[in-house]
Amino acid sequence: MPLGGVIFITVFVAVFGCLCLYLGRLCGGKKYQDAVKLAPYECGIPGQEKKETRVSVKFYLTAILFILFDIEIIFMYPWATSFKEMMAAGIGAYALIAMMIFIAVFIFGLFWEIKSKALEWD
């Protein structure tokens, strides 16, 4: 079972990364800290106190649309693997039409989003 290998290498890499960090801490130069150095880096300008960042709502709208379309794409995967087998089994035309209806819905959604300017960034 490859799962054991996956877990092994994950743990190994994590340990390797931690060791690297530790090594960096061990060999790192002298510690010198003052208020300016510890402040968030803002290209030399004194940082603003409040980190009230006005972020565009587009980011999360993109993320939501990503989820929805991603699932539609994932639905195509099992179909894609079994398409040839379904053709061999004689239900190829049926599978093709079923998928084309699904893709038509997908395309309609995509063009709706483009038309409604949900994907505009400016």
Partner: protein, 375 residues
């Protein structure tokens, strides 16, 4: 993982070796990138330390090591330190799932020249590489710096947007080979071009049986999407210096930065490996099948074990060459194309690549359907 202690041990060592292969490729790639960009821009690049500047890698590593360990006050310590460690994981896990050479038959054992042979190869790699978004978000938010946060949000929005085109462009390939398994895909691309159409076999002897000849559009889309996935120029909006300092790793330095570097190059290697596997026949030597190569080596050495080992080695070298070609394209593109604007980037992902990938899927389905009947 294996049936007996010997096999398990070998498999574990193999995994570690694959990881080390990935890690040690990073300094070479950095050197290549710096020398290559010097070459492209008609300047020297690092050429002082050692022959051709090769020792520069060592000097850089030592420099990274001696940098002061530092974390800003506003940082959330746990996330700040966890992010670089996690940055290694997606690339490593993905790279270990790519076959690097033909399976080595040694006595009763068969060792796949890859970290692990996962049945659903592509799905696993896609799943693992989608975890990379966490690294970026953790680093950006954990730094407590607004540039870092902005860079992280941009980077993750970009990554997930191009994941759509990436995921959709390979549907045609999965359809064509009828499998998720990378080894089976490579096996299907052996020899010269031949395929079944309208009930009879069509064969040519002047083209290798590579995926790129069946799915050229998918190849372009996939390769473009992987650039965005690995945050490389021309899509490195996450670190547009003019606006965002250095993106989500603004506050990182020293070894932590190095770990991010390894993660990024790991991404590039996974992308190049997948490109080679899907479109250039993986480890196959062009125009030949694995069996032919094995027979060829069997003519030189008597033992089947040695011939199998030599076959694996030849295939591994072939794969490395293909990997190198794509990695070089990554570097080449960096100094050829200008950076996109953010809205252009998103438009390209959603409004151009996604519809084209859809068109590719529909076209592939129709063609496969039409061709498979002898009407």
């Amino acid at each position: 993982m294996g049936s007996d202690a010997f096999e398990i041990t070998v498999n574990c060592i193999k995994l570690v070796l694959v990881f080390l292969l990935m890690v040690q490729a990073v300094p070479i790639l950095v050197w290549l990138e710096r020398r290559g960009s010097g070459f492209i821009q008609n300047r020297f690049g690092p050429n002082r330390v050692g022959p051709l500047g090769l020792m520069q890698l060592l000097a850089d590593a030592v420099k990274f090591l001696t940098k002061e360990e530092f974390s800003p006050k506003a940082a959330t310590k746990l996330l700040f330190y966890a992010a670089p460690v996690f940055a290694l994981i997606p690339g490593t896990l993905g790279f270990a799932a790519i076959p690097l050479g033909s399976p080595l038959k040694w006595g009763d054992y068969t060792f796949a020249i890859q970290g692990y042979d996962i049945g659903v190869g592509i799905v696993f790699i896609l799943g693992v590489s989608s975890l990379a978004a966490y690294t970026i978000l953790m680093a950006g938010w954990g730094s407590g710096n607004k540039y870092a946060l902005m860079g992280a949000l941009r980077a993750s929005a970009q990554t997930i947007s191009y994941e759509l085109a990436l995921g959709l462009s390979i549907v045609g390939i999965i359809m064509m080979y009828g499998t998720f398994n990378l080894s089976e895909m490579i096996a299907a691309q052996q020899g010269t071009m031949h395929f079944q159409a309208f009930g009879n076999t069509i064969a040519t002897s002047w083209l290798p049986n590579w995926g790129i000849f069946y799915q050229p559009l998918a190849a372009v889309l996939f390769f473009a999407a992987t650039f965005a996935e690995s945050n490389r120029l021309p899509f490195d909006l996450a670190e547009g210096e003019a606006e965002l300092v250095a993106g989500f790793h603004t506050e990182y330095g020293g070894f932590k930065m190095l770990l991010f570097f390894i993660g990024e190059y790991g991404h590039m290697m996974v992308a190049s490996g997948l490109m080679a596997t899907f479109f250039l026949g993986g480890y196959n030597i062009p125009y030949t099948t694995t069996e032919q190569v094995y027979q060829f080596f069997l003519g030189f050495v008597e033992s089947a074990n040695a011939a199998s080992a030599l076959t694996s080695l030849a295939h591994f070298i072939m794969f490395t060459v293909k990997l190198g070609i794509f990695l070089w394209i990554f570097i080449w593109v960096r100094w050829t194309l200008p950076r996109f604007r953010y809205d252009q980037l998103m438009d390209l992902g959603w409004k151009t690549m996604l519809p084209w990938a859809l068109a590719n899927t529909i076209l592939s389905a129709l063609v496969i359907f039409a061709v498979s009947h002898s009407w």
